[in-house]
Symmetry: none
Subunit: 132 residues, 4 copies
């Protein structure tokens, strides 16, 4: 078991609900292995303080991720990263990425993009993201 700082970026202006932002980022950290099994997450009060949000919101995040099987929480002890099988981890990653890509292509098709245009936009996006 380890004890670490969790790097979460909150976008105040986003339409995405606060708890969603936190959940998504935390989920990514777990399934990419940046938070290893057994990692002791900050207590809900502490995390709420550092994220500058309500305890309830953090509580909700932890609970949702526990329902997904990514966290394990023990009353009076704390919240920990659960054991995630390598296969599951891979599935999570690919499922999320595949859905994102599919959605993008569907949207592009809906506005009448040709396959060539999409390909060009894809490379453009790739360059934009990885040059940052």
């Amino acid at each position: 078991m380890q004890d670490v700082k969790i790097p979460i970026q909150i976008n105040e202006n986003s339409a995405e609900p606060l708890y969603h932002q936190i959940e998504n980022q935390l989920r990514s950290l777990i399934i990419t292995g940046q938070l290893g099994e057994g990692t002791h997450l900050p207590s809900i009060r502490e995390f709420a303080g550092s994220l500058n949000c309500s305890v309830i919101t953090v509580r909700r995040v932890y609970q949702d991720l526990e329902n997904e099987g990514l966290l394990r929480t023990k009353q009076g002890t704390g919240t920990f990263v659960a054991q995630v099988e390598a296969g599951d981890r891979e599935n999570y990653r690919l499922k999320a990425a595949r859905e994102a890509m599919l959605t993008a292509v569907q949207s592009a098709k809906a506005v009448g993009c040709t396959e060539e245009e999409m390909e060009s936009l894809f490379w453009e996006a790739l360059k934009a993201v990885y040059s940052k």
Copy 2:
């Protein structure tokens, strides 16, 4: 001016709000030219009836698209497709598609995909969408 049936598909189970689904599809129809300039859209009441939704929802759709400059409402006469310049049409399309693609790539990167994986997923998505 012409008077046509508007082909809108509503997905009851989607998390996407009703007005959003309708707006997006209607916007696509207009900027891809499937609804030409001057097309007379159904009355709010009529459209609401055929979509089996509330008039409030349709009113909101018409209003939002009018604000975007895609529709034009004439008191007592009805709602019509506005003039869309070729350049604007192109901008709309690419802007929407570009954003979609960027979002997808960012999501994929967030879950740890490599560029190679993304490319593979992109082709997969393209195939899936166009083989339908």
Copy 3:
């Protein structure tokens, strides 16, 4: 779609959390088919009023059951019983009952009951429950 009264019994003195009691009873009503697909559940405010509990608690119940796939909720419209496949319904029932029975037998074994004693206790319990 139908609109009905939901018969929920709250036990104030139980150690079982309020939201758990409501969830369990509602789940039973759904998987036993007493609340058919499409049934329009009371609004969270209304239900909270009749259960004499907080809106938040009802909200949580609805959300948890939605995550389980038993409810479907549409913003601005309401909360409905989702489509549950007959097979799933059967699985739910048997899974719940099987676990309950297994737990009981394990507990009984832990305190040193013989198989004969258990059988006798089982018949006793059956009689007690069904004679009510």
Copy 4:
């Protein structure tokens, strides 16, 4: 008086509180006679060490069981298994088992099981537990 090793199995992942798990197992050991009257239990500190848990937890266990009359604490000497009358022992066993069975049957009825189904599930559970 004797001094023995206490075989307690802790399940880290169970939702059941630690103190509960320990209490239940210790209670079973006592009422089934596996820990005879006068047995000298380990000191709180020692027990906590071997269970790898907090002394607070063990203290609570000892205290609860003392309240139930199953343990007896002598200042400066230690904690011992109290005298359990044969009748009491029998009562404990049957009470616990009876409650467990009743709960199970009620749960099963709540999800719509017929008496026949329950019987079948009961035999299944019995087989599962005793074949281990």
